[in-house]
Subunit: 386 residues, 2 copies
């Protein structure tokens, strides 16, 4: 059990017939309380899908009762008709749960620019409500119903010593990047928390987890992370405790997303330290993470630090060529502007790769999580519309 | 004849033994005057190769007599020793030509972070000087000596009705991007021009040509475009005429660079119009050009405009989702925020693809030249160090 691991939640994942394959494609998560507090973060892409526009309105209210999610279609760039589809879905769920539509958040994922098959979606609501359950199987089905090119469901759970917990699932395998990977995630907690505290804790957690995953620079039209608090444990953690557990569960999910991202053969951590500011550290790490020449070299297990130097040199951050050092898997290949150890000393044949860049001009630091660029990525993204 | 097409120039391309293959790897271009005016633009990467640092100093002087270029090593990230190597190369050329070292520009291309084999380089100077000639073959050899992963030399030439001309060559096949593709180019003209006019004309020409080529976002440590004016035609064109012919030759070279770039199977023009500013138009076009999900869709001949919408939506430019339109190969697939023609109506099976994005918020426009992202790109950049 994960999204239903914390007390006070039920979930379901069913096949509504949105996907032609007949796979699970429709997920519902319900907060049975006693609290109905929630917070959310959304894509910064200005082209926002209808469900993002709707859910942002929902989050402005005080209460969130349920989240309904579909795969098989992003409902993005679909105009007013697409927004009406999202609203109709929320209404149908609300009706079944005896709530108001504005208490139901909606998430969608799949191809951009196509309307959803609303007959299937609306029929799916009834099936999902009937299947709501707090079991492990219900959690797994919920995590499965949001999958697109994901090859496996991603779930995580962590329990605090004082008796409350955080659980959740995530999906996303491509269009994974800045400021939320193309990605949907629903987190749950049975902690007691007010909306403002929960919001701050979620933003702090996503800032160092979901916001640091960058597979291909793509920022989707649909990215959403929601957290629902039921208060069912009766325990009210401090904001720091809440942030810590949300961060742990989010970090777990991010590593699962990376490992399953399209075509990835390497798990790459890029840490930039010695930066003048955290913003500089993030910008440098992100540029290296998105650089195709770096990514293809990593696919070839080649510690080509010259490409890393090239990539970081094009970032508008404070960089002094004579203080930069680059280490790959523990071997310093470039030290304060000069070649150091021979590249053959760095072994990149394993799946895990750690790149540490020290800018040598300050004390700020950040880590970005990325992958290599492989034939599998090209194949998956050229052969199928997604 | 191209780089030696304009009067007053000789060139040579020889095998100095820098490349283990024995291929041509060393090029010399000499301006025999009567003028020795020059201008240059260089990479904006803060990690600048030794030859870039040197040639920037050369361009601060009034006279430029010759340019010496090598492939087989970028001499970048090589510290003070690498700078001394560049200086020694310029000195050796200057000595052979009876000039000062500060009148000789140097360009290098190849692997970053390795010192050059200076015995071979210095011996190559004598060989190249002995081979200097104004023939077509000398032009071709010069264009060939700078090749790295290029599969063919790139040359261009254009003559003005009033009797003066512009010629030149370029190299570059990967690390091709913003603000000069990874790329070396030497242009020559027999026009009469002063340094300031030549500098402005070159900047105007590269602004809409070399600066608009973006294959993979990589900005090399070595990017250089030089123009040398001999004045040998005796004709002094207006600044507008000079700009126009430099632009024509540069545009020709850019299209050749794109066609030969690593793994490219599509030639893609991305035009953004209706932008609030040229900077916005460039930023949007560049982001679409660099987006791997767009590029892989194009490789698959898939008019996936949803990925184009996603990519443009993450640009920090003035974008109103309800005024954006997207046309691919003449078919409008997204019109003012709404899906338009079915994607199947856009035929992308040919090599040439034209994407036109109308932001609908202003009148500024820009075109960026790019390619798709293919298996060939991944293969070439993962299997070889470059």
């Amino acid at each position: 059990m994960t999204v239903t691991g914390p007390q006070g939640f039920r979930a379901a994942g069913v096949a509504a017939g949105i996907k032609a394959s007949g796979a699970l494609d429709f997920t519902l998560v319900v907060n049975d309380g006693p609290l109905d507090v929630a917070a959310g973060v959304f894509t910064r892409n200005v082209i926002k899908a209808a469900p993002v526009l709707w859910s942002q309105e929902v989050l402005k209210q005080q209460r969130l009762k349920a989240v309904v999610l579909n795969s098989g279609g992003a409902n993005a760039a679909t105009g007013p008709g697409g927004f009406q589809d999202t609203h109709a879905t929320a209404e149908k769920v609300a009706e079944a749960l005896g709530a108001g539509a504005i208490e139901v958040a909606v998430c969608s994922t799949g191809l951009i620019g196509e309307r959803l098959p609303m007959d299937a979606v609306l029929a799916g609501v009834g099936t999902a409500v009937a299947a709501l359950d707090a079991s492990n199987q219900a959690s797994l089905n919920a995590a499965t119903g949001v999958m697109t090119t994901d090859t496996k469901p991603k779930q995580a759970f962590a329990k605090h010593d004082s008796g409350w917990s955080v659980g959740g699932f995530a999906k996303g395998a491509g269009m994974l990047a800045p400021n939320l990977a193309t990605m949907l995630s629903v987190l749950t907690t049975d902690a007691v928390a007010d909306k403002e505290t929960l919001d701050r804790a979620l933003r702090a957690a996503t800032h160092v987890t979901f916001d640091r995953l960058d597979v291909d620079g793509g920022t989707s039209t649909n990215d959403t992370v929601l957290v629902l608090a039921s208060g069912a444990s009766g325990v009210e953690p401090t904001e720091a405790e809440l942030t810590e557990l949300l961060t742990a569960v989010s970090h777990d999910l991010v590593l699962q997303l990376r490992a399953d991202s399209e075509g990835a053969t390497k798990d790459v951590d890029i840490t930039v330290q010695g930066a003048e500011s955290e913003a500089d550290a993030i910008a440098v790490a992100r540029t290296i993470a998105e650089d195709n020449l770096v990514k293809t070299a990593l696919f070839g297990s080649d510690p080509n630090w010259g490409r890393i130097a090239m990539a970081l040199g094009r970032v508008p951050a404070r960089i002094d060529p004579e203080t930069v050092s680059i280490a790959v898997n523990g071997v310093t290949l470039f030290a304060k502007g000069m070649p150091a150890a021979d590249r053959s000393e760095a072994d990149l044949t394993g799946r895990a790769i750690e790149i540490v860049v020290d800018l040598g001009v300050g004390s700020a630091e950040s880590t970005v999580y990325t992958t290599d660029l492989s034939h599998g990525y090209v194949e998956e993204n050229s052969a199928y519309s997604s």
